[in-house]
């Protein structure tokens, strides 16, 4: 067992998830089963292998540059409405489960 119920409670807290007692029990079982399988990655020696975060830095980039300058094609002028106008206020609020005419509404954050 790599993961205990205590770990599950801690990780759920990090992920902003409230789990029921039953969900926690299942989660301990399922995560241990999956991580047990994932452990086979340790059969490989990767000391000298570079990590790969994405594939898009291999194609269409300016090879002579480094860092974000490689992606010059993906950048745009830093101007107002560079690609499109922002959503109108009322449209941005349209899907909000709780809002007034100006703001998204959430439970009180600061008690005074």
């Amino acid at each position: 067992m790599k993961i205990t119920e205590k770990d599950v409670t801690y990780v759920a807290d990090l992920a902003n998830l409230e789990l029921t007692e039953e969900e926690r029990t299942h989660m301990v079982r399922d995560l241990n089963s999956i991580l047990g399988y994932i452990d086979r990655l340790n059969q490989l020696n990767t000391d000298k292998v570079e990590p790969m975060a994405q594939v898009s830095d291999r194609y269409g980039v300016d090879e002579s540059k480094t860092g974000s300058e490689r992606f010059a094609y993906a950048s745009r002028e830093d101007v107002l409405f560079g690609l499109r106008k922002s959503l109108p206020h009322e449209e941005a609020l349209e899907n909000a489960p709780d809002a007034d005419e100006t703001f998204f509404k959430v439970p009180k954050v600061i008690e005074r």
Binding site: I3, D7, V8, V11, A12, L14, A15, N16, L17, E18, L19, E23, H26, M27, D30, L31, S33, I34, L35, Y37, I38, D39, R40, L41, N42, L44, T46, V49, E50, P51, M52, A53, Q54, V55, S56, R58, Y59, G60, F71, Y73, A74, S75, R76, L83, R84, L87, E91, A92, E94, N95, A96, P97, D98, F104, V106, P107, K108, V109
Partner: protein, 480 residues
């Protein structure tokens, strides 16, 4: 018009020549959906009023004698992970049950600009997480070829709609096999383009370094037509590549003689169903008879693909799904006393079991003390898997494998065993990790008449070669 086996060009020609109209075609598809879909469950939302308006526009063009665009008047449908302005988009999740996007996904917009008529939005596993479409928060999809079986997933609705003639073509998304595996299970063509070939702007993100949009269709040619429509750089998606898009249709009929086809032993090991093996070996024989040169290759890190994938994909998902907080859109738990309680309860009540499992796994893999052991390790193995393909493609033009180790399984068969479900993607996740394109095409049936899929993988940005091979194979099948 007979909807069975109806493909893009004959339908478009009929509308252009006015032997039928796009409105009539759209109506007959809705009639069919009404009749069939209660057994299949492919659609989540229909948008008939909008569709008829689009169809009328195309019919007016035809009446005025104007030449129709490539998808002029063609009834299509969209996996419900792609945003459609004004049309509900759920990602198969309760948390987005009432979400009406204020903008449209670039791939969908390009389909519409090419004249396509959108019939509705298609069912899928919640947030595209699953291999059977049983993780939809609304209802599962059933395989039109055998309704006791799953259609595959996560684009199960997209595959089933094409297989049951409830749309001419559909769009799906593929993060670990979610276009190709359901295409294989339902007996249709499914194409995952190269990473970066198609913009993901407006695709509800699952794992951003792995997500792809692509077509499901009844023929390789239709898949090529749709790819040509949706491919190419989009300033709204910085990961869409600035690489020229060839004319896939012009490439389709070029000869395949002399193409080098790699066959990797790692894709024919234990766990491969005997009937699937036989059908794929026969398909390789057919390609050899078309004068392709079959070359044995090795992709030695293949067995590490599933564990690598389930770390990388869940880590990215845990981050992407953090946006669902019950504030700006989506499900919102009522009567919470604090902000934190509102977040937690909204997510607890809004997400389904598999989504929670993946958020948990991804959060764990990224958490302090485990990052190096899991996430960094998986990123390094991803390099090794990608290098395997780089090496192989020095020797061959394409690689041929089974799409899935088994034909479609029964509903309920794997729902209680997440690991068994994950292994259904064993032959498809490798291409997502390496960012190379792959296509699944039908290559036979089991004794129980279940479809079997052949997967052809290609070099980065070389969809043209895999489409050409798939097309040649499809034609060869027609002779027999």
């Amino acid at each position: 018009m007979d909807l069975n086996h109806l493909t893009i060009d004959p339908a478009r020609t009929a509308i252009q020549e006015r032997s039928t109209s796009s409105v009539a075609l759209v109506e007959s598809f809705y009639t069919r959906i009404q009749k069939e879909d209660s057994q299949i469950g492919a659609y989540l939302t229909l948008c008939k009023e909008r569709a008829v308006e689009q169809a009328e526009h195309i019919d007016r063009m035809a009446a005025e004698g104007r030449s129709l665009p490539p998808l002029g008047g063609i009834p299509v449908a969209i996996k419900d992970v792609m945003c459609t302005r004004g049309v509900r988009t759920t990602a198969g999740s309760k948390i987005l049950e009432t979400f009406i996007p204020p903008f449209t996904c670039t791939a969908v917009r390009r389909m519409e600009e090419a004249g396509a008529v959108i019939l509705g939005k298609l069912n899928c596993d919640e947030f595209a997480m699953g291999s059977s479409t049983e993780n939809s928060a609304f209802h599962p999809v059933r395989n039109p070829r055998d309704t006791s079986r799953v259609p595959g997933g996560s684009s199960g609705g997209s595959a089933a709609a094409v297989a049951a003639d409830m749309a001419v073509v559909t769009l799906g998304s593929d993060t670990g096999g979610s276009i190709r595996q359901p295409a294989s299970f339902c007996g249709v063509v499914g194409l995952m383009p190269t990473y970066g070939r198609v913009s993901r702007y407006g695709l509800i993100a699952f794992a951003s370094s792995l997500d792809h949009i692509g077509p499901l269709a009844k023929s390789v040619k239709d898949a090529a037509i749709v790819l040509r429509t949706i491919a190419g750089r989009d300033p709204m998606d910085s990961t869409s590549a600035d690489v020229p898009v060839p004319d896939y249709l012009a490439e389709l009929d070029k000869p395949v003689r002399g193409l080098k086809i790699g066959v990797a032993k790692e894709y024919f090991g234990d766990g491969l169903d005997g009937e699937v093996r036989k059908a794929v070996e026969d398909a390789i024989q057919t390609l050899a008879e078309l004068d392709c040169e079959v070359i044995p290759i090795s992709l030695p890190h293949s067995e590490y693909a599933i564990p690598t994938y389930y770390i990388v994909a869940t880590a990215e998902a845990s981050s992407n799904l953090a946006r669902f907080d019950g504030v700006r859109y989506g499900y919102h738990a009522k009567n919470a006393r604090t902000l934190s309680e509102m977040y937690r309860r909204s997510r607890a009540e809004g997400f389904g079991a598999e989504v929670k499992r993946r958020i948990m796994l991804g959060t764990y893999a990224l958490s302090a003390g485990y990052y190096d052991a899991y996430y960094l390790k998986a990123q390094k193995v991803r390099t090794l898997i990608t290098r395997d393909f780089d090496e192989a493609f020095k020797k061959v033009d394409a690689i041929v494998t089974p799409t899935s180790p088994t034909p479609a399984f029964k509903l309920g068969e794997k729902v209680n065993d997440p690991l068994a479900m994950y292994l259904a993607d064993i032959y498809t996740v490798t291409a997502d990790l390496a960012g190379i394109p792959g296509i699944s095409i039908p290559c036979g049936e089991t004794r129980e008449k279940l479809p079997i899929g052949l997967q052809i993988l290609g070099k980065h940005f070389d969809e043209a070669t895999i489409l050409r091979l798939a097309h040649a194979y499809e034609k060869a099948g027609e002779w027999s």
